[in-house]
């Protein structure tokens, strides 16, 4: 019996279409997906309903008369304090904070990581340890000292003050990321470039950075989501005029005159979350590749 099976076996091993483990895996995954997506579904559906319809209380039902009015209100006319120009103000504030913070932190961290992995200077390891230690200090401890520092250099309440804070707080993890990625590149590449007469900056700009797309993408995603979603620093270090989008969202949702406009709140929340969502969709694949590349060695 065994013999006949052995002699017949040839080519790819046949796969059973439906097996016990497969059923369990797919069921679990489907249930988890529903669990995670249900709130998003409720948000989208609610944001498209009119207030009378929401008051009926059927949270999961599809909207009877689809309306985009809540979205317009959230973006352009919702009031927070004295300003009644909706989230649009916060959106542009956030963009103004985000772009320079991401650029500065990545530029500085890539130079840090490069110097730490290829130009072993005296005390490099001590410096790196100190930098890493910074990643483990809770933000709350530093909130007030930073207020004083920003006040002293005249940037308290300014968008640029927040840019500096974000750039500094992104430094430890980004430096680690770049250092590990560069350590995985062959050292002979840098040696060859040195024989070819390239200096510190030229090696980084002409040779290493062009090879670093995956890790730069990872850094961009980390920084964009981190800075965009930040609430604490935004509310502490800026004034109402320059509040980032998240702070303004909170203010819109918590404004209490009259009834709670659930549809506007839902629309505003989705609008605020769109930027990180977009970044994930655009670069999801590169993200995974970059994280893996950085994790191999170090």
């Amino acid at each position: 019996m065994v013999d006949t099976v052995m002699t017949e076996a040839r080519g790819p091993k046949p796969q059973k279409a439906v097996t016990g483990p497969k059923i369990i895996i797919y069921t679990t995954l489907t249930l988890l997906a529903i669990y995670y997506l249900a709130p998003l579904y409720v948000m989208v559906v609610t944001s498209l309903k009119t207030m009378p319809e929401i008051r009926l209380g059927n949270v999961f039902s599809l909207p009877r008369d689809v309306t985009f009015a809540p979205w317009f209100k959230a973006w352009a006319t919702a009031c927070t304090g004295l300003n009644c120009d909706g989230l649009s103000r916060g959106f542009w504030n956030s963009v103004q904070i985000l772009v320079p913070s991401v650029v500065i932190s990545i530029v500085v961290a890539s130079v840090n990581g490069y110097a730490l992995s290829f130009w072993r200077f005296k005390g490099a390891n001590v410096l790196f340890t100190i930098l890493l230690f910074g990643a483990f200090i809770p933000y709350q401890v530093m909130l007030y000292p930073i207020v004083i520092i920003l006040r002293e250099i005249g940037l308290y309440g300014d968008v640029w003050g927040l840019v500096i804070v974000h750039s500094i707080f992104g430094m430890p993890i980004l430096t680690l990321l770049f250092r590990n990625y560069f350590s995985s590149l062959p050292e002979e590449l840098v040696k060859a470039a040195r024989v070819d007469g390239a200096g510190f900056w030229r090696i980084l700009i002409r040779i290493l950075l062009p090879m670093s797309t995956p890790i730069v993408v990872v850094a961009i995603i980390l920084q964009v989501t981190g800075i965009w979603n930040d609430f604490l620093f935004g509310v502490v270090y800026t004034r109402p005029d320059s509040y980032p989008m998240t702070v303004q969202l909170n203010n819109i949702v918590n404004s209490t005159f009259g009834e709670k406009e659930y549809n506007v709140n839902m629309a505003a929340t989705i609008l605020t979350g769109l930027v990180p969502l977009l970044v994930y969709f655009v670069s999801g694949k590169l993200f995974v590749r970059g994280i893996a590349a950085g994790a191999v060695k170090g």
């Binding site: 002979e188 060859a192 040195r194 024989v195 070819d196 390239a198 002409r206």
Partner: protein, 357 residues
């Protein structure tokens, strides 16, 4: 004037001495091979000559100029690495011209040198490709080309063929030899492969633990190794060794006496042990037995056929011996065969100092 001179070169990483006061003078147009097992400091020495490692002590001269503190690019060297180290985002042409652009050479001069190097190495059709689209052999040609375009006097090779498969390695080895004959540059070549060393070198420096054991031409290294380490290291399969006591009639090894008459040096009598070395290819069998001074009948323990020749293992006076016979000869385990030794082709070492006698 020497092309490259290394004087009292030392390098320490913390408390570890990697290079210990090395001195080498390399002549104009010479092909010098640094040979040694891994960790002997041969690549480190090359990196020091290139200026890629800061040295602890000593001096490096290239073309009579003291370059001890000079940047790698200012030393007049070109270097080829084991991993090729091609810039992956640049085309072959970009790789070749990168150093020249850094040096600020005019456009037409760059083009002239790149096309000359491409012609010599026969990589013209590849100029527009990225390194990722090249085979291993092609990549190594480009890496050599990158050194070539620099128009330098000294080429440094850091195990350039070690990443290639055996056949390609043999092909490129021949090409390197031709290239050297054509260019007549000074070349310093690091390898752990003794075949590469023997075939390419004008002189070989055998290194061990950061010191040079012997610096001589391949013939001298093979025929007159200065100590046991070199004798054991050079030659594949390796030399056979037996330990014995020198007496009036010869060396007493176990129950046999191996004559020493015919050996080029006169061996001084002392009570100490001496080591007798004989290469597998210098043990006579068959017709060549007629010339052998010493003969013995042995039983074959093991046979390793290698095609062109066959390696046979036996025991002589309690020591394992291997000897080389013709590949066509029929030899089985358990066969009795007569072997012969000729003192003129044997080696004698002091067992204590391990130096050649």
């Amino acid at each position: 004037m020497y092309s490259v001179s290394v004087k009292d070169l030392s390098l320490s990483f913390g408390s570890v001495d990697v290079l210990k006061g090395l001195n080498i003078d390399i002549g104009e147009g010479e092909f010098l091979v640094l040979l040694g097992s891994s960790g002997c400091g041969k690549s480190t020495l090359l990196n020091c000559i290139a200026g890629l490692l800061d040295i602890s002590d000593g001096q490096v001269f290239i073309k009579g100029k003291n370059v001890t503190w000079a940047e790698p690019s200012a030393r007049g060297i070109g270097m080829v690495f084991q991993s090729y180290a091609l810039y992956p985002q640049m085309s072959v042409e970009g790789n070749l011209s990168f150093g020249l652009k850094n040096a600020g050479l005019p456009r037409d001069e760059i083009n002239r040198r790149v096309s000359r190097a491409a012609e010599i190495l026969q990589i013209e059709p590849l100029l527009k490709r990225k390194p990722g689209a090249l085979s291993g052999g092609q990549r190594q040609r480009v890496a050599i080309g990158r050194a070539l375009v620099r128009d330098v006097d000294v080429f440094l090779f850091d195990e350039p063929l070690s990443n290639l498969d055996a056949k390609l390695r043999a092909d490129l080895r021949v090409e390197l030899k031709k290239l050297h004959r054509q260019l007549k540059n000074t070349m310093i070549y690091v390898t752990h492969d003794q075949i590469e060393a023997m075939t390419l070198a004008d002189r070989i420096a055998i290194m061990r633990d950061g010191t040079i054991q012997q610096l001589a031409d391949p013939d001298e290294i093979y025929n007159r190794p200065v100590n046991l380490y070199v004798a054991d290291f050079i030659g594949s399969p390796a030399m056979n060794f037996m330990t014995g006591i020198l007496g009036k009639k010869g060396v007493q090894v176990g129950d046999i006496t191996i004559p020493v008459k015919g050996y080029k040096n006169t061996l001084e009598m002392n009570d100490g042990e001496i080591v007798v070395g004989v290469r597998p290819e210098h043990i006579a069998t068959g017709k060549s037995l007629a010339d052998a001074v010493f003969r013995a009948e042995v039983e074959v323990d093991l046979v390793e056929p290698m095609g062109a020749d066959t390696l046979a293992w036996c025991k002589l006076a309690g020591f394992d011996m291997r000897f080389r016979v013709d590949g066509q000869m029929v030899l089985k385990e358990g066969d009795k065969i007569e072997i012969g030794l000729d003192p003129a082709r044997m080696h004698f070492f002091d067992a204590k100092t391990e130096e050649r006698l």
